[in-house]
Symmetry: C2
Subunit: 194 residues, 2 copies
């Protein structure tokens, strides 16, 4: 595995997924995001909705809910099992050739396995709040509350499975503020650095 891969970690609502798709299109390589969900659903039997939640976010109630979570006969929680499948799948995708992989700790999973450009996309709360309402619509909770919850749980998930800090600049080759620089500009920068 030595193909050149772009991994994109991102804050919820920052447009990191769109940055990944735009960069992949410009480079004419695949961007894996929805495909990962579909493949994991096929392999695990979990629904895509469950995978979307459990494959990047710590459970709401934290350790307690984990301790009480249903376990498989091998002692793994369903979230642990999803992590194992997700890791295998990302390693397989990396073997196929150059690509962009969005989220799912791919930066960590591939850190010594492939030639990666690791990116982190973030933006301030007001930019993201506006964007999640445009993209995902209104919910009962305010956009700010939704973002705080997502940020906290994504950071906890990353910390738990990688033992390193999510969003720390030194963990990425490039980190960009999509709110200030613009989503298109971020995609251009990644394309150019590839």
């Amino acid at each position: 595995m030595s193909e050149r891969i772009i991994t994109i970690s991102r804050e919820f609502g920052s447009g990191g997924r769109t940055v990944g798709r735009m960069a992949a299109k410009a480079l004419n390589i695949p961007c894996y995001d929805q495909e990962i969900l579909e493949e994991l659903a096929r392999k695990s039997g979990f629904t895509q909705g469950y995978i979307q939640e459990q494959g990047e976010y710590a459970a709401h109630a934290g350790w307690l809910s984990n301790a009480l979570a249903s376990r498989f006969s091998d002692g793994l929680t369903s979230q642990d099992r999803l992590w194992v499948l997700q890791r295998e799948l990302i390693l397989e995708l990396a073997e196929k050739g150059p690509c962009v992989i969005v989220g799912r700790c791919a930066d960590f999973i591939l850190r010594e396995k492939a030639d990666c450009l690791t990116a982190f996309i973030h933006a301030d709360m007001s930019f993201r709040a506006k964007r999640i309402v445009e993209v995902y619509g209104q919910r009962q909770d305010s956009p700010q509350k939704r973002l705080q919850d997502k940020d906290r749980r994504r950071a906890a998930y990353y910390q738990f499975y990688t033992d390193s800090q999510w969003g720390q600049a030194r963990n990425y080759h490039i980190a960009l503020d999509s709110g200030v620089l613009g989503i298109e500009r971020c995609a251009e920068l990644l394309t150019q650095l590839y």
Copy 2:
């Protein structure tokens, strides 16, 4: 104050200062670094060596040494006094016009005062260890030990005076790994984004 300014925060040994100088040269604007030391020495009466240490690094022994530190008649420690002078000087420099300012929490000091592009330059330990020996020569302590000490004290200084976390991607518009991307490439990216 609305001039366009690049602020560069950097890990010791990452080449952030060189990135700043190269970008400033390409943009034909001044890069303030040594000038800040000289001006602060003139205003404060402290030596440049003292300012270089105390203007970006927490004291070695932490809180205890701070509690025991000599204080001026206004109750400020010498490090607090230096912070006040440094802050005033950076605000003055920002008023003069477009420029690059390296280090000294300029990103925080100018956060609502000027139109800034805030950058963070970092690199892994082996890149920085090699580089500090080339640039600053050998010392009694190993390069790794020197870097760990500098990183820890710089982070503590930043946290103390800005109440935010040094090196957290979301605090900067762009964060770059100079070890992977190369110092020249980092300078080009900043020049291009300016």
